[in-house]
Assembly symmetry: C2
């Protein structure tokens, strides 16, 4: 599901340099940007700039700079690859030299970033959104980072209402449920989903409806967390592994 070349180029978007860039560093910061495309979650990859690279695509990355905080570096790298900053970032994992990095760096720190739906990649084809099951070959460390980022995203999902970062400011509850289903990788029951949503006071309806083809028009909602709930659950001994 590569993006077709954009016909309308949004203003203020820096052009991505097409000349070969060779980066060498001990420590890299790598960014995994997710955005939903229809019913599928996609990840941003950029064309390899180093002519000696074995793989044609790679995650956006750059060398860490001593004077720059890691999360700031992640936001910078995301902006440089996408043109727009992510709506939310989170450190995922640090990995070492057991797995090959496209820049041959010794160590890497991976950051996860969420981008609202509908954000196009920069023109020129230097960066594209790839569905998770159509990711081209990546350097092993990058491949592992994508998996870790997805796991971290799902873990974060029931800790904080992060799914809203993937949606525009107003949305229908069906859209919201679809995002959750994409992220969780499983179907949810409509009634249960809305019941839980209502109990958590996370959204409020606005006086607007949207008709999406056939069927009854859906009311639009806005993310507006009202009361904080304690979130105290009992002890559970759920075995995952």
């Amino acid at each position: 599901m590569r993006e077709r070349p954009q016909t309308s180029a949004p203003a203020g978007r820096p052009a991505v340099a097409a000349r070969p860039v060779i980066r060498r560093a001990l420590l890299s910061v790598d960014v995994i940007l997710f955005t939903p495309h229809g019913r599928r979650l996609t990840v941003l990859l950029v064309r390899a700039t180093d002519p000696r690279a074995r793989e044609r695509w790679e995650l956006p990355w750059d060398a860490a700079r001593a004077e720059e905080a890691l999360d700031v570096a992640a936001a910078r790298i995301a902006r440089s690859a996408l043109g727009a900053g992510p709506a939310w970032t989170r450190q995922v994992v640090a990995s070492g030299g057991e797995q090959r990095h496209p820049g041959e760096t010794e160590f890497s720190i991976a950051y996860l970033g969420l981008v609202p739906a509908g954000t196009p990649p920069p023109v020129g084809g230097e960066a594209s959104w790839f569905p998770l099951d159509e990711i081209p070959p990546l350097a092993p460390r990058h491949r592992a980072m994508v998996d870790s980022a997805l796991a971290m995203l799902r873990l974060e999902l029931d800790q904080s209402p992060v799914a809203f970062r993937l949606l525009p400011p107003t949305f229908t509850l069906s859209q919201l449920q679809e995002v959750y289903e994409v992220l969780l990788g499983r179907k949810l029951h409509k009634a249960s989903f809305r019941r839980a949503l209502h109990a958590a006071w996370l959204v409020e309806p606005i006086d607007e409806w949207r008709s999406e083809g056939r069927g009854r028009p859906a009311q639009l909602f806005r993310y507006a967390p009202k009361k904080k709930r304690t979130g105290r659950r009992g002890v559970r001994f759920d075995l995952l592994g």
Copy 2:
């Protein structure tokens, strides 16, 4: 609750060098080791070896080595500080130069480690267990690592049965509950705790009882996870922050 000097030195434990050691590196691996002491969780700190250090105590750490995996490095550092390896480790967080590190390293990767109760620090007073609320002044980055490690530990607690790593092979259910209460920082109801434990098939009783002063003797149990449960919960929108 500093440990008194040990009178009996366990065999096979490497002596910690007392001479000043000056380490310089771009990237460090730092280890936060936890063990329970009575009703309190304690952290292992070692005496600063660099004579120019501002603080007298610090987390065990060393420079990362390109040829060594990060988790292997964490285990090595733990063994070198404690004499025994941790029963479980987990990467916590990577942090950069915004906060001062005792070794003035640019970046650091923190690992959390769990040590069974009753593991004494090496003789010589070069390392000691400190309760969380009696931690001496640490370099800012180390201070932040301790907080992150504790948060990670609590997050992990309801994902996997990690509390058992803090207990000897056989234990009473009251001991187990105490560990959970220490880790969670709140009291649990006895009946609820045991019901959940039973439902998860995590422990099995052995034909042995232990009398702990007054009161009815408690049956001993062993960690023996039987069946894997799906662990599938419904969607919840708990707000934590």
